[in-house]
């Protein structure tokens, strides 16, 4: 149902911070709910979503007393439900308690017996489906659930007068509705009115309702529930109380079995406190922090476990040396929480790696598993002299990385492997995309006599007014605004200059070319060059902006690489890029 770790989920359920939300919600939904509720949570929307689900689950599993309604609910995620049909089917399946079964062709809920029909056809059909469910005529779904066969075709037996049903439809990430299914926003918010049944729509989003609703106020105003902001202290407590239970013996996880030993919980609390104080300036999201913690903790605790194992081994040796009455009298040494001293040492050792973890894990440049593997500490870190430990740690990371071969990103390696001509093309493309076309003559124009000499340009354009002195806005360098498009001709022309100035000397001698520049002219007219350009475009290192199928127009391109990469390429070709860029960085 949700992608949140079970530990975090239970911690969440007990958190006093969220009590307010779940109390309000359960009181409302079990008494007289407004037809449309909006829950706004800018910070921790995924946690809130799981909380709402568990609240609803609690309400739905309660058997109603007299006068109360039986609650049935459906949670749909507006990201996953990107088309109306998917949304209708997901909602109806959940409301009817129907699980599509593979053996059955994975059909969606379609009512029972005589009423069987498609309910995902359009909004009206969806409403009819809801009416059917609300009237309690969806027993087929329930039967299928109970006998597990998922057949659902069998005639349902009425089980007396069923209690009233109250349906709840939760839409998570509701802000996506506005982009994907704008025509559904209003009908969903008016679902109760349109279907004439007891149904409450609950939108959950990190964006306020004002930014989701359509203009002209066609939707009713919701009842607002604002989730309070989770302060740092609360985040810490939440994460610390989400200490995972030790993995089952049989589990195949890469984490050490003892890593989440109950004796280590106090240390974990300290660990979380340090982690939070280093990382919380960058993200407050408990889920992200928990992710980082999960990546770092096994390595962090490894030295303690190593020390413990060492102790065990010593004991074993000692007891076997004692020999004699070694009939298992020795209780195996229990894992002890580490001393205060050890704790401080560990924290000092590992704190720098917290930021490293944040940097690569928060943007998901790496995943927790790989990261943990690369950053695993050397064996018996605690036995090393304190002065050497940090270096040993750093050295270990380098060796780990080398052995796991994750040092280079794939793009970098690919670029290194490009042919020399392609690199020239890319640099030329960067220049063409960055310099204004009118500057080309100034930048690249060479008199007859200076054909092979580079003209030094004065740094800084003289015409540029001082910022703020004129009424106009300060000019922003093109490199920050993104690449501009250029026609193929211009690319070729610039490429010619680059080649003439930087490549001519490296070519094999060709006595047949007598006029200076003729050899270059020849080079840039080769078919291979055009093939190169097309290939670069297919790699998206060049971006073709004109339609690929038009023959009569000059193809237009745009540079696909950034400044840093361009500098690197230029350097490898011996070009000083900054001299050729119109606006100096």
């Amino acid at each position: 149902m949700s992608d949140i770790a079970p530990g975090l989920q239970t911690a969440l359920a007990d958190s006093p911070h969220y009590e307010f939300v779940s109390n309000h919600l359960s009181l409302l939904l079990s008494s007289y709910p407004p037809p449309f509720i909006f829950i706004h949570d800018p910070e921790t929307v995924r946690l809130t979503a799981s909380l709402v689900q568990s609240t609803l689950h609690g309400l739905a599993s309660k058997s109603p007393t007299s006068g109360e309604s039986q609650i049935k609910y459906a949670c749909v995620n507006a990201v996953a439900c990107f088309s109306p049909r998917i949304l209708y089917d997901t909602a109806l399946n959940a409301l009817a308690g129907w699980t599509p079964d593979w053996r059955d062709g994975a059909t969606n809920w379609h009512g029972s017996g005589a009423e069987a029909r498609r309910y995902n056809e359009n909004f009206d059909a969806f409403v009819h489906g809801i009416q059917t469910i609300a009237a309690g005529a969806d027993n087929a779904g329930e039967n299928a659930q109970t006998n597990g066969a998922g057949k659902g075709k069998g005639k349902a037996k009425e089980q007396g007068a069923p209690p009233n049903r109250r349906l709840v439809l939760v839409v998570e990430r509701a802000e996506r509705l506005k982009d994907n299914l704008p025509e559904l926003v209003v009908p969903l918010t008016r679902l109760g009115e349109l279907s004439q049944v007891d149904i409450t729509t609950l939108f959950l989003s990190e964006v306020q309702w004002q930014d989701i609703r359509l203009p002209l106020r066609a939707s009713p105003e919701p009842y607002y529930i604002d989730v309070p902001f989770l302060i740092k202290q609360d985040t810490q407590e939440l994460l610390a109380s989400a200490y995972p239970s030790p993995p089952a013996e049989s589990s195949t996880s890469a984490v050490d079995v003892d890593a989440y030993h109950p004796a280590l919980k106090p240390l974990y609390t300290h660990f979380i406190a340090t982690l939070c104080s280093t990382c919380s300036p960058f993200t407050h999201d408990p889920i992200e922090l928990a992710y980082i913690a999960a990546a770092r903790w096994p390595g962090f605790i490894q030295p303690v476990l190593d020390a413990h194992r060492g102790l065990l081994k010593e004991e074993e040796i000692a007891s076997s040396a004692e020999d004699g009455d070694a009939d298992g009298k020795h209780e195996p040494h229990e894992l002890q929480p580490p001393t205060e001293d050890t704790r401080l040492r560990l924290i000092r050792l590992f704190t720098p790696s917290f930021t490293a973890a944040l940097e690569s894990l928060y943007p998901r440049l790496s995943n927790a598993m790989d990261w943990a593997r690369v950053h695993a500490p050397p064996v018996d870190l605690l036995l090393m002299p304190p002065g050497h430990a940090p270096e040993a740690l750093a050295a270990q990371v380098v060796t780990n990385a080398a052995s796991l071969n994750t040092q280079h990103g794939p793009t970098e390696a690919g670029i290194e492997a490009l042919p020399r001509m392609a690199k020239f093309v890319l640099v030329a493309a960067f220049l063409a995309s960055t310099n204004p076309a009118r500057s080309d003559l100034r930048m690249f124009g060479r008199g007859l006599d200076e054909r092979s000499k580079r003209r030094k340009r004065k740094v800084g354009t003289p015409r540029k007014p001082k910022p703020g002195t004129t009424g106009t806005a300060v000019k922003i360098p093109q490199r920050l605004l993104g690449p501009t498009t250029f026609p193929l001709d211009r690319l070729i022309a610039i490429l010619g200059v680059l080649l003439e100035e930087n490549d001519a000397d490296t070519r094999p001698a060709a006595p047949q070319y007598t006029v200076s520049g003729e050899y270059t002219e020849m080079e840039i007219a080769r078919v291979a060059l055009h093939a190169n350009i097309v290939e670069l475009a297919s790699m998206r290192l060049l971006v073709r902006t004109s339609p690929p199928d038009s023959l009569d127009r000059v193809p237009m391109f745009k540079c696909g690489i950034g400044y840093e990469l361009a500098i690197k390429l230029a350097k490898s070709l011996g070009i000083i890029l900054n001299d050729l860029v119109y606006e100096v960085v």
Binding site: Y32, R190, E193, A218, F282, G482, T545
Partner: protein
């Protein structure tokens, strides 16, 4: 008598009654018994200062046995009041309680005795119910010489019109116009339920039925639902009888009737528009769609149905945007001819509901000429007293319970608490402020709902503070999270954006902000050095997610993400405030740097 021994809730009960002046429950102010030591009065709503001493365990158990509370049982508060603690220390066997510490000046027990907690829950439910189904109020008193209010008037007009159709078999049409949330939909429903006989009701909504085809399907479906299986045969019989009396549409009508009959057994298939093979398992014939050319013919046979029909068109203005306004034309034409007819057949009423005041002008001429022109207006309550009376009535909704004594005790307390709250000048003032901004009835309801949900065992009475909190939550919920709670890199980007704006660039790319940020880090050495691209990029995406940065151009595949144009939705003053709240000197310096 300055202290009373309590052992059981029974004792507590009698105590409370006595001190509330039980024999004369009207007593508005509480006069404490002589010699009662008074504690300094505390503002209502500061609940935890003086709490009930832990009731003896036996009492607790008893209470649980008697009324299982639906909420998780809170542990009773243990912060004993000073005197009580002393007393308890003096004689631990005889817990003593100071009466005065338990009540506010007005005579409400500051802390609700445990056995009344379930009743608070019930009261909350009763209030929520009353808010959902507003109690009748004495409008004559509220409105004085302005009586009757618009909605009462409108209701009467609407009822008359529906009566004409349902009882006398007329064909009628009208338009219900009023601002959103002024009770239009609710009024229509009320008027329909109040009719002496149950008509066939077809409810359409311009929000759901985006075109006439969908609308016709829905009409067909609803008609079939309400007229049942016997509908089709009966239909054609009736038609034969009434042939002569019917308006010229009859030929078409007959055709449609037959088509319907023939295809009566067909199921609807989403991929084929009409006449798919019917699954033989179907027992109940479902009405299906005649071919599109005959769709509208379905409407013209509505007057021939056995019962009168009411057609409600919510979002009437949206139907006017359908092609050629065909559906509206047919409906109104049928209604009109029904009126001009001899009165044979059942009546028909078309009720348009809309919030758009110029709806009549967007009707095409031929449609308009078939519309009766009756426009009924609704409005939100025009007097603040309406709200206040309703608030009083809702809050004072009677609640029931199993234990009559408890209920009585609770009612006594509650009936004091409500007037005390509602007669507070500041409460009325707060409501007036809201009312001055919007007369929307629903906002009032939301505020009251929020207020009700806030009542807890610890602070069981509505207070001004709660009301204010409820108002700010429901009236103008904050659009963005407080900016100072954003992550550090996000604030940096906001500051960079402010600088970009100052230099004349309202529209920016990520690279621009990132460049400014890097420069700042380089020149000032102040920002935390460990931030690299990742954190800043994520912060930018976060701001986009929160709609603080809005895309300024439609996304194109050829534009890389870091060069997509954005603009900022918060102004520099908000950023400035956030930076000040964060209190980081280097950020403030950067912001004020020119």
């Amino acid at each position: 008598m300055d202290s009373v021994e309590i052992r059981t809730p029974k004792h507590l009960l009698t105590t409370l009654k006595r001190s509330l002046g039980s024999p004369a429950p009207r007593g508005s102010t509480h006069i404490p018994p002589l010699g009662t030591p008074r504690l300094p009065p505390a503002a209502p709503g500061s609940p935890t200062k003086h709490a009930l001493p832990l009731p003896p365990a036996s009492a607790l158990r008893q209470r649980r046995l008697r009324t299982p509370s639906p909420e998780p049982v809170r542990p009773p508060l243990v912060s004993l009041s000073h005197t009580a603690r002393k007393a308890a220390a003096a004689s631990p066997s005889k817990r003593q309680r100071n009466q005065a510490s338990q009540r506010t000046e007005e005579g409400l027990p500051r802390d609700l005795p445990d056995h009344l907690h379930p009743l608070l829950e019930r009261q909350k439910r009763a209030i929520l119910k009353a808010l959902q189904q507003p109690p009748e109020i004495d409008e004559i008193e509220v409105y004085g010489e302005d009586y009757p209010p618009t909605n009462t008037n409108a209701y009467e007009q609407l009822s008359d019109l529906l009566m004409g159709s349902v009882v006398r078999g007329e064909g009628n049409s009208c338009l219900l116009i009023g601002p959103s949330g002024s009770g239009k939909t609710q009024m229509v429903e009320r008027a329909i339920t109040a009719l002496p006989t149950t008509p066939i009701v077809v409810r359409l909504s311009g929000y759901a039925q985006h075109n006439d085809r969908l609308a016709i399907r829905e009409i067909a479906w609803q008609l079939a639902q309400q007229t049942g299986t016997s509908f089709l045969p009966a239909e054609s019989d009736e038609e034969d009888e009434e042939d002569a009396a019917d308006p010229p549409a009859t030929v078409e009508q007959e055709a449609s009737g037959e088509t319907l009959e023939e295809e009566g057994d067909d199921d609807e298939n989403p991929f084929v528009d009409h006449a798919p093979a019917a699954p033989s398992s179907l027992v109940e014939p479902v009405i299906t769609l005649p071919p599109p050319s005959h769709l509208l013919a379905l409407i013209s046979m509505i007057p021939t149905l056995p019962r009168p029909t009411v057609i409600v068109l919510d979002g009437f203005d949206l139907f006017a945007s359908h092609a050629r306004q065909a559906l509206l034309y047919c409906l109104l034409d049928t209604a009109q001819s029904c009126r001009t007819g001899t009165g044979a057949g059942s009546g028909m009423a078309v009720v348009g509901v809309t919030a758009r005041v110029d709806t009549i002008n967007i009707l095409e001429k031929r449609v308009k000429s078939r519309f009766s022109g009756r426009m009924i207006r609704t409005a939100c309550p025009t007097k603040l007293d309406h709200w206040i009376t309703l608030a009083k009535a809702a809050l004072g909704a009677p609640c029931t319970g199993e234990n009559a004594e408890d209920v009585e005790e609770w009612a006594e307390i509650w009936n004091k608490a409500v007037p005390q709250f509602m007669e507070d000048e500041r409460v009325v003032e707060a409501l007036r402020d809201v009312y001055a901004l919007t007369r929307d009835f629903q906002i009032f309801r939301r505020i009251m709902t929020c207020l009700t949900l806030e009542l807890t065992d610890i602070s069981p009475y509505p207070t001004l503070k709660m009301l204010k909190a409820a108002i700010s939550r429901q009236r103008c919920p904050a659009r963005y999270p407080p900016l100072n709670t954003l992550p550090y890199p996000a604030i940096c980007l906001l500051i960079a954006q402010v600088h970009a704006q100052t230099s004349g660039h309202d529209v920016f790319t990520f690279e621009m902000l990132h460049d400014a940020f890097k420069n700042q880090v380089r020149t000032s050495q102040a920002a935390p050095v460990q931030i690299q691209g990742g954190g800043v990029g994520m912060a930018f995406e976060r701001l986009v997610d929160l709609r603080i940065f809005l895309p300024a151009a439609s996304p194109a595949t050829s534009v890389a993400k870091e060069f997509a144009l954005h603009r900022c939705a918060v102004d520099r003053f908000a950023v400035k405030k956030a930076v000040e709240q964060m209190g980081q000197l280097n950020l403030r310096k950067w912001l004020t740097k020119s």
